[in-house]
């Protein structure tokens, strides 16, 4: 026979669980009622504006800590003579640049109930947003685009990204490996039935910044547009093969 206190605790836990369940049901939508982000999206341009490459609302001066500024200055001094960039070496930007900028190239979203895949055409960067099935901590490692988990809050998709590598080479928003990025995605349908995807990003990084960084990014739905491959190292490989052939012929 179970202990009365344990029965009471179990009863309270069950009630709490039911209450939480009810809250979740009331704040969430059924899977078939959620907005569908699937498709190809391009940079949204406000009427009369050139485009939102790095998102709107971006601060002019970043609230960087002195130690972070020193790291960035050291990096900038290194690459300044040849004006090198990661992209020039066929390396993707990583978050948040892949989402906010991506060179103005389109992105494709493939949405499933348990996972959302985002493919940025530039450098073929891919993000997997795991819905309700987070991998164990010991299975995760740092990456330029980090590890993303998502959840639905009504018709908004909330994505949290962690496990990022330190990235002083991000042109707009450099960050440490302690950065945490939260994106809120919302689908808006205009009066003319055109679809706009809006993301509000907040990046907190106590190692690099004294306060959170926020930015807004918008995309327009591009029906009929296909994402193109972005193989970038092929000329380098072919030139290398040519050099091997020249050496073999000597």
């Amino acid at each position: 026979m179970s202990h009365p206190a344990r029965r009471l605790a179990t009863s309270h836990a069950a009630a709490l669980s039911m209450a939480l369940g009810a809250m979740l049901v009331s704040s969430d939508l059924a899977a078939n009622e959620r907005p569908d982000f699937t498709g190809v999206w391009g940079v949204y341009r406000e009427p009369g504006q050139a485009g939102g490459g790095f998102g709107f609302g971006a601060p002019e001066t970043l609230p960087l800590r002195p130690e972070a500024q020193a790291k960035i200055d050291e990096y900038n001094a290194l690459v300044a003579p040849a004006q090198d960039t990661p992209g020039g070496f066929c390396l993707g930007t990583g978050m948040p640049g892949s989402m906010l900028g991506s060179g103005g190239y389109p992105m494709e979203i493939v949405q499933h109930e348990d996972i959302i895949v985002v493919i940025y055409e530039a450098h073929g960067e891919i993000r997997h947003i795991h819905i309700g099935n987070r991998a164990p901590e010991e299975d995760l490692f740092p990456d330029r685009n980090g590890y993303s988990v998502g959840r639905w809050e009504g018709d908004k998709l909330i994505v949290e990204t962690t496990h990022l590598k330190e990235a002083v080479d991000q042109r707009r928003y450099p960050h440490s490996d302690q950065a945490r990025i939260v994106e809120e995605y919302e689908l808006i349908t205009n009066d003319d039935a055109s679809k706009v995807l809006v993301a509000n990003m907040t990046m907190t990084d106590p190692v690099f910044y004294t306060e959170p960084i926020t930015a807004e990014k918008k995309w327009s739905f591009l029906p009929g547009v296909r994402l193109l491959p972005y193989e970038c190292n092929e000329p380098t490989w072919e030139e290398y093969l040519d050099s091997l052939r020249e050496q073999a012929a000597e």
Partner: protein, 118 residues
């Protein structure tokens, strides 16, 4: 001097480094109407940037000049298709010049002999 030698040696030993593309900040992208014509020697449409070499003849003489251009994906979306430009063709580039005034530039657009633009 030692550092320069190391860089030159690396460029010789590691072919990939010689191909590394740089940022477009060495070009004056505010200049959008500068046209340069020449005979195509190389027209390699690629990502992240296209490599174009033109034989140019002007007051400086005749020489090969290398230009950087948009990515293959961007040229495709602006109308470029395979075979549209071949070595030996005469083309005109709408090219942002280099900031230091040296030969070369960033090909914002291409005009082929028959007037096709991409």
């Amino acid at each position: 001097m030692k550092r320069l030698m190391i860089l030159l040696l690396a460029a010789v030993l590691v072919p990939g480094i010689t191909l590394a593309h740089h940022s477009a900040s060495r070009f004056d992208l505010s200049v959008r109407d500068n046209e340069v014509s020449g005979i195509v020697k190389v027209f390699e449409v690629a990502n992240p940037h296209t490599k174009i070499v033109l034989e140019i003849t002007n007051e400086k003489g005749t020489r090969d000049v290398e230009f950087e251009g948009h990515s293959r994906n961007n040229y495709y979306r602006s109308g470029w298709r395979i075979g549209m430009v071949e070595p030996g063709d005469r083309v005109t580039l709408v090219a942002a010049p280099t900031r230091d005034g040296s030969d070369g530039g960033y090909a914002l657009g291409v005009i082929t002999e028959d007037g096709t633009r991409f």
